[in-house]
Symmetry: D2
């Protein structure tokens, strides 16, 4: 056992943290009341800085222009990036592009990589991942309505998707559609690349969430696929391999989500401490002396530390024993880390008083945007079931 | 002891509930993406309907054109109004006007009533209450920076306020300002009526909260009072009576806030039940059959029932033994009911899955807007201290 | 609505409270390390005092020698009695005798009353209620193994029961046994009076619970019924009416249990306040000044107040609209009040520090003995299901 | 970073676990209703087995007859031992002897080691540590009443202690007493060895806790030191070094406590899983299929995993950067791990229904005995303050 972080990695983390604090925190207040599109030029200036520092796309192999960090190293960087809502975007590690890049790197043909991956690596285009359906629960991912029927050398895609994050302005979507309706449930769907300018691809709306429709990268699209035709060569991997591909990204993707949440919790705790010191309840009586606030700080620190180690341990296991063997861990961190994050954010808001609900701090952004952490990617309830069933199995339980 | 609601009151409640469901629920989705100002014409049409039904201003004496309901009756109506974010506005019972009307009715001179109260009763003007200051904690309400210095027959007011709810478009503000800086803390401030068109009254901004600046009634103003001059006759009550007046409205105002929260919790529970029935996790397997969702429903029902009775009991005590004797109850309901509401809203969102964070239901509105319930009007922490100190006192404790 | 307690009732409550504090609190420390049987003589001396004050058996009609209190009045008295673990016993209102007396009063024949009820009313004998079975979950009360087969004018009873409270030293048990195995589930069992000296009645052991087997009234018996023969006339009510009779006592019994828990919580809060005042963390720095302890006191006060009103409201509803119509309330108070009690007890222990786990206060007794409140009489989970299903039904849900 | 456990260590852990399950679990039910003294012969038989396996005193250097495990290795063994309440005792690693052995090894003179340490290493004598005082809060350890006044070459000790664990039957106590009342608070006390047969050493009582006075090793003594005289050479280390010595053992001792709690939580989770599988709610409907129970299992698994890593990380830090630098971690694990353990135990009891409160499982023992984990060694509240103050300090806070 060794809980230390190598000096070299620590140096990267320190520099990333400094960059995020110096360059990205100031954007937060500028963002208030602006569309994301209005922010993009400034974000791309920051991207140039990131490239100059050699930090562009930490998760991507050097051969493809990234930093080539190891899996856990990137997880630690991801934590630092999450201190700002713009961190991942500015470093070229933002969802859903990061996941799509990984899929294309692992499962893409040379032709697919050339056409669809290159612009993502360069940061000149964006993409989206189109899986969730309004009439089908995310807790049952094999139950899909969208179909892709092969006609000649084309797929004809019909379906209704939503929460296709960042569809607005994306160059293409990777669509999960049923190609083999008669196969066993996990072998029914395929992942197919659909350019967003294909006929029949209709971005119905950016779904208003928590009071905002959002725009550009910062949006969740509702999409109708109405007789959309794409060449069969746009399919990723074998026909029916859609879930297998999705599964293969699940473990690593989970770690990055969770480290992002840990980063958000850390930032919130930082803000809570700063506020406790700065705010006086009466002359000479800082908030920091209130025992209740001290309890919040201490409990947050303990819960973040514990959750963080749990996520790193799960990541280490994925790396060393594989995602399948780490199934319990991968589900456990999902519901546990999300809860810890949301509780810390909530405490930080309370410690800020009225200021906490204003856009003058980033806390309300975390409060609104990250509530969905307990829902997307499988709600808490699904992951608890997974963990429980695995444990019961280890104790000899067989479902009837 | 009698826990029954008189038949006549129950009839009113049923009719109000029906009205809210039929006329106001449909407005919720129309509101998404619109400013409040854009909604106002529709809301005023609904007000006309309310007047025709004889439900206008339930809390106002008949002599002044209201329904003349008793205190607890109005509390029960308030619960029903809260099922929709527009209920109180449409029935003419919205904060801060409702509170200001009560102050003017109780402490206003005939002239003040004529000039400032009449338009509020008629619904032709709005008002605001300007107390909270950015650099002074709400937990210490006697520590104010804003001053009103008498010069001749005028007050000259200087100060910086925020969270002056609904200042945007208001005809006047009731401002809390220090008039007697050398008096004991609770006798330093007065309440003074300031027309918003007075020279030096600057609405700096509608404070962006939870991602929205809001507008019109649905906003919280930051205001600078810069050498604002008003006639001395604009003062409400005696000089130095500002806190006494505020205190006198605190108990009743608390009941209405809390019953509003109970109504919000009830609506959220209603939505949770409806969703549980409508949503299937797999064919023939409704969400309602999930034990976790059943737990949420049952716990919400129990907590709402308990909190609701606690609020009604506190209201009954204010009515029968007076607000001073009911101090413990008035503080206890503040933190208890707010917590219950927020937990129920949170569970309802979780039960809705992805839909729960969209603007397609009202839940996300409650989630964002009502987080401040644990902060305004004294944060949880202050009210817990009040309750504890009173109880300790009853056990013989004297602070040193 | 009227939340007041009649003056006359309040006087009774005050006198009962005083009696409990003066006469029963001192017994608590004497009880440490003693068997219950050793305490009995002292408890019976106290019973004499109670009789002299006219407080004997508050729940029993005057015609039968009790105080003849109304249902809610007795609930309020029950709260006061619960401040001491000996309150109910000393006032002749202890489970399971109180429930058995009510069953005999309502369903007993004159002969049954004469023989079995009279000694309970006089306090010269005790009884027990034998329902729970080790191999059958309490959450499914219609699934029983114990049978009573009629042979001639006798029932032959065979079965295995446990948690037959107070069997040790009881004169008789009321046994729930299947008499009609082919009837629909709710019509299968009957309640039959079995004298404990009947051949084949074997008290296997007093079940050690939380480290103590207990004895006499303060015990839970494991009993084997091995070919026990009793006359058919020992049956209470019609054959197959066992559940109907049990159900009829459920609502009122629930109120008394819950008010007992409220009383326990109140006593614990009282002890917490007293300790906070008496204990110093440093010279001149009482525990009462710690904000965390103040939070505990305030939250406990709020939660007890809310839960208490909820129980009283449920009791009022049983009285005025009947137990069937109050089904949701009767289940909701079970899990809600038990949770509140246990949390308050836990906080009180924490506030006492090391003293809190010693037998020098009654808190550890509550902690150990009342943990089962969340289990007996249907665990939390069952009652949550009942509440949820009823609510879902009101929203139109029909189970498939 | 490396989260793996070396194969060799894992083998030891597996064998220890097997031993505990095979040899010690069966003792649990035998223990019910017996004094500890009655169990001792059986426990000492098990000790012989342990010695034969080469597992005696895992924490003690080989030169002194132990296994000579490294710090973290022993922490992992300690987790396994805690699956049974008898694990530590049987392996010779039980508090308070383990701590006293460490003190004597590190600070004892050759003479002290010869006389007092040897019998502990051999398992032929027991000892106790006498620090806590009834009239002084454990949260303020430098505020002690007990004094040791030097007269000639003797100390004369006077004072009143309690919660001197295992005093009953111990050969000696290490007593914390004020020797230098005029020194700064942290330099006032010394640790002095007092044989329990010294004149004036009065074991007043084994303090009844949670209904049991306990006896022998399984007891907490209340002790009066009345003019007890011991030679000055019985002092450990320098005069006034009492706290420094206590501090030096605090970090390592904390890890062992916390790993013990983790083991208890693991055992409870194991029992919960086994019960869920074995128990049927209706024919063919095991408890394991209940979603609520699955939630408990999953949440327990997640919380235990997170807390466990947190404790191991703190241990690793003590080993690598020192206890002083790991102060935040050492305090954070105290309140966090204790809470997690108690919640898991509570859930396991609930999953067992009525069985859960009986002595037929070990859960009720954990429930009663381990409640004090949140109190001894500094209550939660003290450790939260420590964590908060350190964090605030890192953010620049200086107390006034």
């Amino acid at each position: 056992m060794d809980f230390s972080i190598p000096t070299q990695t620590q140096e990267i983390l320190d520099r990333v943290r400094q960059f995020v604090a110096d360059e990205l925190y100031p954007l937060e207040r500028q963002a208030a009341g602006r569309t994301f599109r209005e922010l993009v030029p400034r974000l791309h200036e920051k991207r140039d800085l990131v490239r100059r520092l050699g930090f562009w796309q930490p998760q991507i192999p050097r051969a493809h222009g990234g930093m080539g960090l190891g899996f856990l190293e990137h997880a630690l960087v991801s934590e630092q990036l999450a201190y700002s809502p713009y961190g991942h975007y500015v470093f070229g590690a933002q969802a859903p592009d990061a996941g799509n890049m990984e899929i294309l790197l692992e499962f893409g043909t040379p032709g697919q990589r050339q056409r669809w991956l290159q612009p993502l690596l360069a940061g000149t285009a964006r993409s989206c991942f189109s899986m969730t359906e309004p009439d089908r629960p995310g807790s049952n991912p094999v139950w899909l309505e969208t179909t892709a029927v092969q006609e000649g050398d084309q797929y004809v895609i019909n379906g209704h998707k939503w929460f296709t994050t960042a569809a607005d302005g994306a160059a293409f979507a990777i669509v999960m559609a049923v190609t083999n309706p008669d196969a066993p449930p996990h072998l029914r769907a395929s992942q197919i690349i659909v350019p967003t300018d294909a006929a029949g691809f209709q971005l119905v709306r950016n779904i208003p969430c928590m009071g905002h429709a959002g725009d550009d990268w910062a949006s969740h699209g509702e999409i109708v696929y109405d007789q959309v035709r794409v060449p069969v060569e746009n399919r990723l991997g074998e026909e029916g391999a859609g879930f297998a591909i999705a599964q293969s990204r699940l473990g690593p993707g989970r770690i990055h989500h969770c480290m992002r949440w840990i980063g958000i919790a850390q930032r919130s705790l930082e803000l809570m401490c700063q506020r406790a010191i700065a705010r006086e309840l009466a002359p000479g009586q800082p908030l920091a002396d209130q025992q209740t606030v001290q309890n919040w700080i201490a409990e947050s620190q303990a819960e973040i530390t514990a959750a963080r180690l749990m996520v790193l341990d799960a990541g280490w296991k994925i790396d060393h024993i594989g995602a399948r063997a780490a199934r319990v861990e991968i589900s456990a961190i999902k519901f546990h880390a999300a809860r810890v994050m949301l509780e810390v954010v909530d405490r930080a808001i309370q410690a800020h008083g009225a200021l906490g609900v204003t856009d003058d701090t980033v806390l309300q952004y975390f409060y609104r945007h990250e509530r969905s952490a307990r829902i997307y990617d499988g709600p808490d309830e699904v992951h608890k079931r997974v963990v429980a069933r695995q444990l019961l199995k280890r104790h000899g339980y067989r479902r009837r």
